[in-house]
Symmetry: C2
Subunit: 244 residues, 2 copies
Amino acid sequence: MRNIKLVIEYDGKDFNGWQKQPTKLNIQGEIERAIGEITGEEIELNASGRTDAGVHAIAQVANFRTCSNIGIEKIPIAINSKLKKSIRIKQAEEVDMDFHSRYRCKRKTYRYVINNSEYGTAIYRNMEFNLPCKLDVEKMRKAIKFFEGEHDFKGFKASGTSSKSSIRTIYSAKVLEQGERVFIELTGNGFLYNMVRIIAGTLVDVGLGKIQVDEIEKIIESKDRTRAGKTLPPNGLFLVKVEY
Amino acid sequence: MRNIKLVIEYDGKDFNGWQKQPTKLNIQGEIERAIGEITGEEIELNASGRTDAGVHAIAQVANFRTCSNIGIEKIPIAINSKLKKSIRIKQAEEVDMDFHSRYRCKRKTYRYVINNSEYGTAIYRNMEFNLPCKLDVEKMRKAIKFFEGEHDFKGFKASGTSSKSSIRTIYSAKVLEQGERVFIELTGNGFLYNMVRIIAGTLVDVGLGKIQVDEIEKIIESKDRTRAGKTLPPNGLFLVKVEY
């Protein structure tokens, strides 16, 4: 038995999210099918975490166990040949049998991309959230610093979701600007459901002057979802890196 | 009567090129229809030049004449509201009646984007040409310099196309590298049919060692299409700028 770790890029637009579902096209199911066609086994693919419908991954990590003796260097090409072009296996590596993509994950980095131009973008419309009103990026830069460190992010998760604890640590939080694009980048030990999209929505409210920079600390402390900003749409969100 | 100049972004993947055709979805036809719905007129839109099926434009320029007195600042929003999201009017400006997008064009800039990674990209697959073999970018940088200046580009146009003259001037020709991406950028007074895609294909052959850097001059002088490289696919090509 071998344990194989994959690094995977996918275009979230084409799928109803990572997680396997019986009737809707999903990334996990597609890759499990492709691996099954190659190994002849029924395999189970564990990712570092789910991503929602429309959310992209530049480098999702997932692992599976197999008895197949296919050469490790042939695995990406073999799986890719059975997949749609909207999913690409970028890397395969043999890992210890006890490696688990989710439980062993130490840090994850997400990026949220905002197109802050008046009429939006035609070409990148599925990879950027278009916001025509001009953002004050300096204010967003100050505000995002309050998210760094260990906090109870109860106010920044989708209602109705049950995680044991809503305490997470953000190691790094940055707002970057490049031409008409604004990038929000967060690295942490884990993220609650919709957490990045709600933080991004809150920072947008800061950039629009609806929330003041010095209110952020209190909003986090309040643990009150209604005080944070809107959940931004999935098309601007990228899972950028998963570290072990 | 007014003459309106538009700057237009579009995702070439969704269309059979710029030019109006009776049965296939095309960019010119879509925008003419949208303007017609707003002005109630049958208008004719002149672009700086056609782009082929799959080719993108970041800033195509086109103009039309109208008797409508709609405010110039309202034109982009009004037209965009009648268009698919894969076309965006980015700017509208009232210009002299004798302005013509094609005849008055002085310089055009095209960019060709190559994804030079082993397994390609899932997310940007319609905006980059994937080439798994490693390119020698230094050689490509030296080779592209031979294209600068005035040349007869007869060997770098699609066969069967008839232009009066195949002499064009390239003002600037650059190869740029950013991570796994290689960009070929050309600015000139005009380009023959498929010229950028054939130059890009020739440079790829240089990067792969199939053509030597010092052969480029002779290949241009030979005016022989068979000596130049392949026409690269349209998905990597962007019309970046049109200057007047």
